[in-house]
């Protein structure tokens, strides 16, 4: 149970990351989320449960439907939130390094 509540553990799973990316652009129902995956519906529900338990997703009742949306505050706490920014710079610098090594030897 402890593992399940660990945010980093939660975002380590590719399907759960995909769910977060999907829901980040708009709040969605479990059914709409599941429609984007080949995975069985109960598996998606399980992922949603884990993401909700560790507060990355929040539920909001709208009529009869429950919508899932991103908890931006929690996402911000996760170091991974700035990981794409770090990765972008890392890619650039690695390219710089490769180019200059060639430059040196030519």
């Amino acid at each position: 149970m402890n593992l399940r509540r660990d945010v980093f553990q939660a975002i380590a799973d590719p399907t759960r990351r995909a769910i977060l990316l999907l829901v980040a652009s708009q709040a969605m129902t479990a059914g709409a989320i599941a429609a984007n995956f080949d995975t069985a519906r109960p598996t998606v529900s399980k992922h949603l449960q884990i993401l909700t338990e560790c507060e990355l997703l929040e539920q909001a009742q709208n009529g009869r439907e429950i919508y899932y949306h991103i908890n931006a505050k929690k996402m911000k706490e996760v170091a991974d939130f700035i990981e794409p920014f770090r990765q972008m710079w890392d890619d650039r610098f690695t390219k710089l390094e490769t180019i200059m090594k060639q430059y040196k030897s030519s």
């Binding site: 980040a24 984007n36 920014f85 990765q87 972008m88 710079w89 690695t94 390094e97 200059m100 090594k101």
Partner: protein, 154 residues
Amino acid sequence: MERKTKINAEDGKQELVITREFDLPLELLFKAYVEPDIVEQWMGTKVLKLDSKKHGSYQFETTDPKGNKYGFNGIIHAFSPNQKITRTFEMENTPFGVQLELLEFEQLTDDTSKLTMHVIYESVAQRDQVMQLPFAQGINMAHNRLQNIVGKLN
């Protein structure tokens, strides 16, 4: 795995620090920031102008796969070869404002060097927005991919 590029962005501050150690002599690292044709290669941008000196300026332009052009420009405030570049950076036609960049170049050994990039934004909100850009782009790309897949199913 050791992360070569580190980002230090404290909560609630309008600045961040990017550091990176290179397996390159200091002179070569610095050259990569000065020679327009080299900048073009690693930044993946077209260099329209790069006048590396005090009171100099630069202008870059990138083109996305759809042919849309994006401009970047800035003014160089200080320029000390192999030591420091102080400049502004601005993404044209965006709400992100101007950022101040202080780039410090250091020799570690004969063959290794270090870059410290101190970036100061107009506000905390702007820093956070810029930092989240690649994340947002990732979201859009993932979303577009999913829409494409879903589109094909229909």
